[in-house]
């Protein structure tokens, strides 16, 4: 009994730890703003930092399932939603930074024209904005209640994360001038994470006895039905 309680506490502590750690970049950013430590173009720095953290957290969220299988530590799955919601928080900050401090809306009301033009005409903004939109229903339906209500459909819906991730990486890749290695690293990590899933699905399909196929993998169990993996 006491071990159950302490385990619950440790899980709660880990959750809190992830959230606190996840908010550190925002704290650092605020401190940098206050100390005027963002260089000559602070607006760009804020935008890019929030965007970078969105991509990293998104990739981290996608890494949970493969990592769980790799390590056999099923408890990891508990933290995926937290990471997903942190990702969503950062994408909101990134979009708000673009809208308000970069484009100047609503301080300059007419700037909405430029925002709409950007979204419609600039492919990298079109895909970035689409990725943002795709993440909204995922964040909304992340609660236990929605998981229950949607049942099997929840898994299908949450597979949108793959589309959002691909668009997010493309959004980064598409805006840079010249070739930057970081953009390629993001793409490689994403391809690796998606590849791990494809490989697993194929491995499962190849065997008529799915549980045995799964057992050949380093991790003993496939995820619960409600997890996109």
């Amino acid at each position: 009994m006491s071990s159950v309680i302490s385990r619950r506490w440790s899980v709660r502590l880990a959750h809190t730890g992830i959230v606190v750690a996840g908010l550190v970049p925002v704290a650092v950013l605020i401190s940098d703003v206050l100390r005027d430590n963002l260089g000559a173009n602070p607006v760009e720095a804020i935008e890019h930092r929030m965007g970078d953290w969105t991509i990293w957290l998104l990739l981290a969220t996608l890494a949970v399932s493969p990592l769980r299988r790799l390590t056999g530590w099923n408890g990891l799955i508990r933290y995926r939603r937290t990471l997903g919601l942190l990702t969503f928080s950062y994408v909101c900050l990134h979009f708000l930074a673009y809208l308000v401090i970069d484009q100047g809306f609503p301080i300059q009301g007419f700037a909405i024209r430029y925002v709409v033009e950007d979204i419609l005409k600039r492919p990298y903004i079109t895909v970035g904005f689409t990725a943002f939109l795709l993440l909204i229903p995922l964040a909304v339906t992340s609660t236990k209640g929605w998981v229950r209500r949607l049942g099997r459909k929840w898994k299908a819906l949450h597979q949108l994360i793959y589309v959002a991730a691909a668009l997010g990486v493309l959004h980064y890749l598409w805006q840079i001038k010249g070739d930057r290695p970081t953009a390629v690293y993001h793409a490689l990590v994403l391809v690796g994470l998606l590849g791990a899933r494809v490989w697993r699905v194929r491995a499962l399909r190849r065997s008529p006895d799915a549980p045995r196929a799964a057992a050949r993998l380093p991790s003993p169990l496939p995820g619960p039905a409600s997890d996109p993996s």
Binding site: A40, E44, Q103, G104, Y114, D118, K121, K177, D179
Partner: protein
């Protein structure tokens, strides 16, 4: 909220003195823009007479950016692709000894030692707006001299139509040159009439100090009506040519960066808008001006040209 539009008239830099006085008469006559005719008074300097070496000026709302910003926010891929890379990775670069070979279609080719060049062409202050193709801008108090002086001295032949510039190739001192982010060495070019324009400047200093490595030491080009990437840095070779020379960014991405690269709010970059820009140090974007506000001086160079095609 309205954005204050900089007055177009004030965008004049390094105008021949006769024209300069004409314009002042014009301004007096119209009386409309007297305030902007004396922007230098803001910096406690008379509008010309008192300090003839410091002839460049910009609009009333074009405040020079700080030395810190100008030297820590640089696009100079030879030292890395991020804005802070040049200031962090240019410490090992040696801008002396240095020579600039001027040749090609000229009657008097000459290889200049940089210090000889500095003595021969005294630097004057030229405060220009700098508009990057990435939609940010600054105001920089450069020190330099008109490219036309140098070109005049080497005497272009009647065959000379273009001027080609080359950056030094030193992978040991320029870490970015060990990557294939761009083809090296960096090359740029101008049409001869553009190069002869009095606004086209060879820059050797900034804020009265020798040009820092990260800004293109020891000598770079500044063409204020064009996007910043035309301003090739660490120049070792200037060749006059009969045909249009290759330019690095148009080699790397021909659909995005052309030979002319004139600042033009009407022609967007394929991936982003060029209609507005962020002036470093300002919160809200300001409208981008045709030819970066130097249209009065340079628009005639492009009369009859379709600038959407010749971007």
């Amino acid at each position: 909220m309205l954005i204050k539009r900089p007055n177009d008239i004030v965008s004049s830099e390094i105008t021949p003195e006769s024209l300069y006085w004409n314009r002042r008469q014009f301004l007096r006559a119209t009386g409309a823009a007297l305030a902007v005719a004396f922007p230098l008074s803001r910096r406690e300097r008379g509008p010309g007479g008192e300090d003839p070496g410091r002839r460049g000026w910009v609009g009333d709302d074009d405040k020079p950016n700080s030395y810190e910003d100008i030297t820590h926010y640089n696009n100079y891929y030879e030292f890395g692709p991020d804005k802070r890379d040049p200031s962090e990775h240019s410490g090992g670069f040696r801008p002396r000894p240095w020579t600039v070979a001027v040749g090609g279609e000229v009657h008097k080719p000459k290889t200049f030692d940089i210090d000889e060049m500095l003595r021969r062409y005294p630097a004057e202050e030229r405060i220009y707006r700098l508009r990057c193709v990435e939609a940010w801008s600054m105001v920089v108090p450069w020190n330099g001299f008109a490219l036309s002086k140098l070109l005049g001295d080497v005497q272009p032949t009647s065959q000379a139509k273009y001027v080609a510039f080359t950056t030094v190739y030193r992978p040991t001192e320029m870490p970015g040159q060990n990557t294939d982010i761009l083809p090296w060495p960096y090359v740029e070019g101008l049409r001869l009439d553009e190069a002869m324009h009095p606004l086209a400047t060879l820059v050797t200093g900034l804020y009265g100090k020798p040009l820092p490595n990260q800004d293109g030491a020891p000598i770079r080009l500044v063409v204020p009506w064009k996007y910043g990437f035309k301003g090739i840095k660490a120049i070792v070779k200037i060749q006059l040519t009969r045909t249009q020379p290759p330019t690095t960014w148009s080699l790397a991405a021909p659909d995005e960066y052309g030979f002319y690269a004139n600042v033009n709010p009407e022609v967007d970059h394929p991936r982003w808008s060029q209609k507005r820009e962020r002036r470093l140090g300002e919160f809200l974007r300001r409208p981008t001006l045709m030819f970066n506000g130097y249209g009065d001086q340079v628009a005639s160079l492009y009369a009859g040209m379709d600038l959407k095609v010749n971007y």
